[in-house]
Symmetry: C2
Subunit: 309 residues, 2 copies
């Protein structure tokens, strides 16, 4: 690994950081070597996950929050994760608006999407967080589309998880059922100038009050109008308060343990399967799948054969 | 495996089916033996995935669609997947409404949620589909919260994937960016009596027309008001049309291949990791994680040690 490149990344030089992220997205030995070289310099950044359904104004809020943190003298990076690859220029158009909005602020932004395997995207995001951490960013905002498994994964990586709702989402049973309240450290009702904002806040508060989970941290429910930058100061305060709480209760180190436990298992699984299948031809694999589709043998019978080989 | 139990399941006896699903949720050798016994009798059911963000009216639509299919003399089962475990009775309350709504129809419904590992839930859903398939249901509706990785997983299993939107979701860039249009075989704008329904339909149509994906199937965009049962006949027709298309183009067998390819890989990964770690004590594992957290060694160094042991 080129030591000049490593120190350029450590110095947070934007071009070097961007190149490092591209390398990490491509994966393979190159990504692995880079991460190994950078790993000793990681562990300082605050990782903030922001998640919410489409239409809650997530990108706008993340941009506004990034600017607020910037004004508080933090170096901020954004990773916008979009596992659903778009057809066309839609995403690029959206990204362009965002980038213009952030121009000249010193805020680093990177979109990560994947047409390929999703496990691949999750691993790439983990590695991208490590790159930005080594590059000296104080705060890394990781933005994901919700609500599904994606969110839950991000909660594993983040020190603080913000769940976004918007009026009209949070006031029925279904929305709260799917509301992933358990993973939220901070709840935000964005677009709070819309009808029904108070009802959404009340519904969330009620659900939180029923929470049998007796953790000492009671997630605050904040109202924001991200488009006007309203509520960002309160949100940044809530993040700082949650950080203090996690530090005082040794939760930060527990979250890190859960994150690396998970990542180590995933890495081992990929490596073990790769090794096991390295001498299996495509034709042989296809033959096994055909036996399953035609119900000649079941998955478990085939798995046994492969494991005993 | 008790052969009387197996034939009770094959006869679709509700209590036997419910017991089989409970067994599958618990996992382990018991689930494996059950699936192995049932596997030869699977492969006939149509698997329909229905996904959409909270607030789009997913449960109501699935119930209404199930009744429509029932009226067309199909035997219908519903699996409602909710990876976000709720705090309280919210989900149970929602389920109770649904079950009352379906009482006496002969439609089988089962909710699946998990507080545990998400890989565990995905495997349990796959196995539940096989149980219902062996039990002779013609159609299995698999309902998931979107939009995230969860959806994409279901698209792998489903023969037909329906993506739900509601007015106010589909008419901005963000929603379409996250709109997972690529996995949709049928698009539905539900709550079509609300303001903005036509704008949402138009936005979806426009995005589809920009689709560089040249598959012959152009996903229809339907309007429904599920609460009033409106649009269900058209939706059932679209599903039937999509089935004809997939059969004529041998896509059904391709989808099955992708599904079992994925499941076989996941099964192998779980088995390989379990075997590799069976003699590793908790203390030793914890020690490795500590080395990573304190940045003494990196993930890849630890993985190498484990793989070479």
């Amino acid at each position: 690994m080129n030591s000049k490149f490593i120190s350029q990344i450590q110095n947070g030089e934007p071009l070097a950081v961007a190149r490092a992220l591209t390398r990490v997205e491509r994966g393979g030995d190159d990504a692995r070597n880079l991460i190994r070289a950078l790993f000793p310099y990681t562990g300082r950044a605050d990782i903030i996950g922001i998640t919410g359904a489409p239409g809650t104004g997530k990108s706008t809020l993340v941009n506004a929050l990034a600017k607020e943190l910037c004004a508080r003298e933090k170096r901020v990076a954004i990773i916008a994760v979009d596992p659903s690859s778009p057809f066309t220029g839609g995403a690029i158009l959206g990204d362009r608006f965002r980038m213009q909005d952030l121009a000249g602020t010193g805020i680093f932004i990177r979109s990560m999407a994947s047409r390929g395997q999703l496990g691949g995207l999750a691993a790439a995001v983990s590695d991208a967080i490590l790159v930005l951490d080594a590059a000296g960013f104080d705060v890394i905002l990781v933005e994901t589309v919700g609500a599904g498994q994606g969110e839950v994964d991000i909660a594993k990586h983040a020190h603080t998880t913000i769940v976004l709702e918007a009026p009209g989402f949070g006031d029925d049973i279904q929305a709260i059922k799917a509301g992933i309240l358990e993973i939220a450290d901070i709840l935000v009702v964005n677009k709070a100038d819309r009808d029904g904002a108070n009802a959404t806040v009340a519904a969330l508060q009620m659900n939180l009050s029923l929470n049998p989970d007796k953790r000492a941290w009671r997630p605050p429910v904040l109202k924001t109008i991200a488009l006007q930058g309203k509520g960002m100061s309160e949100l940044a305060d809530a993040i700082a308060k949650h950080k203090t709480y996690t530090n005082e209760n040794h939760l930060r180190v527990k979250k890190e343990a859960a994150r690396f436990d998970d990542e180590l298992r995933e890495l081992l699984k990929r490596e073990l399967l790769g090794k096991k299948l390295q001498n299996v031809s495509d034709a042989r694999w296809q033959n096994w799948i055909d036996e399953i589709i035609t119900r000649k043998r079941d998955l478990y019978a085939i798995a046994e054969e492969i494991l005993n080989a």
